[in-house]
Amino acid sequence: MSFYFAQFLTGLASASSLFLVASGLSIIFGVTRVVNFAHGSFYMLGAFIAYSLVTSLPPGPFWFWGGVILAALTVGVVGVIMEILVLRRIYQAPELFQLVATFGVVLLLKDVALWTWGPEDKLGPRAPGFDGAIDIFGSRVPEYDLVVIVVGFVVLAGLWLLFSRTRWGALVRAATEDREMLGALGINQALLFTGVFFLGSVLAGLGGAMQLPRASVSHHMDLAIIATVFVVVVVGGMGSIVGAFLASVIISELNAFGILIFPQITLVLMFLVMAVVLVIRPWGILGRPEDETAGEEYEHQSLSWLPSRAARLAMAGVVGVLLLLPFVVQEFYLVLMTEVFILALFAASLHFIMGNGGMISFGHAAYFGLGAYGGATLLLYGDTPMLLAIALAPFVAALGAAVFGWFCVRLSGVYMAMLSLAFAQIVWSIVFQSSGITGGEDGLVGVWPAEWASERQVFYYLTLAVTLGGILALWRMLFSPFGYSLRAGRDSPRRVEAIGIGFRTHKWLAFVIAGTFAGLAGGLYGFAKGIVTPTTLDIPRSIDALMMVLLGGVQTLVGPLVGAFAFVVLEDRLLAFQYWRAIFGLIIIGICIAMPEGIVGSTRSFLTRRGLVSSGR
């Protein structure tokens, strides 16, 4: 019995530290409607800064806690800088751009941390005065865990007082409820937004700094926590502090006890909790439904997508050049172009639901990776011929997309983005942990093409044929009644139901189709690389797909293809630099601020302004 109580306390301590981070994200979202991807980076930064401060300040409790608080405040300032320099410029843009821009900050901060603290993990000192364990009903519980629990409750109470007893708190609650009304009442929103970012970032920094005596500080903390935090706020209800607290406790306790039964089950448990909550309460335990008409503010961009005769000829010309390429260029460029084709299909599959259906998936790599692993396992364990393995890979991905998509399409906008990311992270963890089958971190090696396709040129043509077929099939579907129904639902969910079309079912089918084609791309990718590792389905890979679509332009047809090309070339050039992530992060931020229509979209707008091409309809 006492053992279970100790385990309960351990769970509560984890819940408490998770709550610190999640509440910050929730507060920021509630007021600004920005899902701050960099929130996990702030958490990591808090831990690193606290490490530096605590190890360089004199020993003793005063300086230890002083260091922790100072670290949290410093992170708060970083949050404010990000808000002022980046987000202020794009509050009016679609929510997707804010998400992606903050991911640029993630990459930037990753390299800043690498540059400042070096690549090694840092082990901080224990908290002075709380470095032992105490006896509770015969079980030993670390004293520091109790401190963390107390801090969690203090922060919960503090936030409650702040929001219910102060004028500023009332303003925050009012903004969460109705931003426009608050603006109409003459409240300075810029100041409120900056203040909220400060508070939220301080909480993330505090969460990170508090971890110092519990675990080593690593460069993986940022993305590891953000997925869990997304689950917490989706389950708890976006913008609800108490909801975040409840969800933190539920998830952490399930982890604490689940791990006793079967370590791998914790992920499944997290999935089950999320599934149950979202089926019963799609907006989270204490969340409230989004305004039903909110989606209709979507700015309808021109979709004169159907390529003109000239455009079709140009495309045929490009394909002709690609066919001749192996006779002209070196093998290195063929390898590069093979990757471009595969990623172009991957991007086009995301574009299918994103540009046309308005569904933002932040976890599209899950289906790419499922295809890659599906094809590789079939080859390595089932001795399946290469072509059959590539043909079956999409079905593995489709299965995953059917299950996860069923939940995802119940939500919309950023909620869906966060949920899709959480699912992708669960798939990643399962693959990462099942080292017996998937090879764990090292992945599956020896995924080589069949004898007849082992020549680079042959594999190039094979990839070109398959990806071209896939892209053309996706395009055709965009203009089919199904693709149109999807777009209709994006334009007006109200109207599409009123003409008898079940939008949710259509969204689900689209999600499965997109997953299937991503799986096809993934299947090819394994054979192109000869190896399949967990990076084929991690968060950065999902963001790659988003980047390609955004880089090319969401509201264009060839955007994803141009984006994939630009992306591969850019990556190839940047990898030469030690701090390529930072450069890439800055490019992402720059694109979000300066070229929200992407390469193709911006070019088209430019030409239209100059009167060089007609504006379509």
Binding site: E296, H300, Q301, S302, L303, L306, R476, M477, F479, S480, P481, F482, G483, Y484, S485, R487, A488, R490, D491, S492, R494, R495, V496, E497, A498, I499, G500, I501, G502, H506, L509, R617
Partner: protein, 258 residues
């Protein structure tokens, strides 16, 4: 048999009785206007019929079928068209494509993956647009149209599946007075030709009295009057509902007595 038979419909929100025992019938080819002051229960009644809300009591019979509990989608399939108070069209599509979407859904082909959507049922769509005088704007995108034109597109969309009943929630809201009369005149003509029953709510009394074949007056969730436009206009109770009982402004209204 009546097209629509609403009997003893009741709906409460918390402690507020938004609808109390409302019953009425609608015959084919009839334009029935539902009027009443704000908060009278018009929208609640509407939403109980179109499936958006589930009534607490009562039934809604549409050509012999009970609509209560059916999804808006299913009700549409049975032959009930609707237009919205605030227009809802597909802004990224052309006017013709908006109507084509309704036709595609009507023919149950919204999941077809191969044909080109813009080529399906195009002639039918253009025909419908002709009937609402929007044929010449068929190739324009909906998000550049004037509001009055959007209303016409909505009407064409609502007629796409040959409905037997049309539900129009404040069809002329947000329009200029002249456009209002025109739109309702057009509606009256079309439904007359096709013998469609129409239930509409409306705030503009000119529109109501010019086009309705019958009027029901709601107040505080109950029907307080029902009849021809002339009868309703003469009804003292209706005048009281619309102009107030007279007690509030009595001293000012009747200074002669002082």
């Amino acid at each position: 048999m009546s097209e629509l038979t609403v009997s003893r419909l009741s709906k409460s929100f918390g402690g507020v009785r938004a609808l109390n025992d409302v019953s009425f019938r609608l015959e084919p080819g009839e334009l029935l206007a539902m009027i009443g002051p704000n908060g009278a229960g018009k929208s609640t009644c509407f939403n109980c019929i179109n499936g958006q809300l589930r009534p607490d009591h009562g039934s809604v019979q549409f050509v012999g079928r009970d609509l209560v509990g059916l999804a808006p989608r299913a009700i549409w399939r049975l032959g009930v068209g609707r237009t919205f108070q605030i227009t809802a069209t597909f802004g990224s599509m052309t006017v013709a494509e908006n109507v084509q979407m309704a036709l595609i859904s009507h023919h149950r082909r919204s999941r077809a993956l191969w044909p080109l959507a813009t080529r399906l049922y195009r002639d039918e769509a253009l025909g419908l647009l002709e009937s609402v005088s929007m044929r010449d704007q068929a190739e324009r995108r909906c998000n550049v149209l004037a509001y009055g034109d959007l209303k016409r597109v909505e009407l064409a969309v609502a007629l796409a599946h040959d409905p037997r009943l049309l539900l129009m929630d404040e069809p002329t809201a947000g329009m200029a007075p002249k456009e209002r009369i025109e739109l309702m005149g057009l509606t009256a003509q079309i439904v007359g030709d096709k013998n469609i029953a129409v239930l509409f709510t409306e705030h503009d009394m000119d529109v109501v009295f010019a086009n309705a074949s019958r009027i029901i007056v709601l107040n505080r969730g109950e029907i307080v009057a029902e009849g021809t436009p002339a009868a309703v206009r003469a009804n003292p109770l209706v005048q009281e509902v619309y102009l107030g009982a007279g007690s509030t402004y009595k001293p000012e209204a009747r200074p002669a007595h002082a």
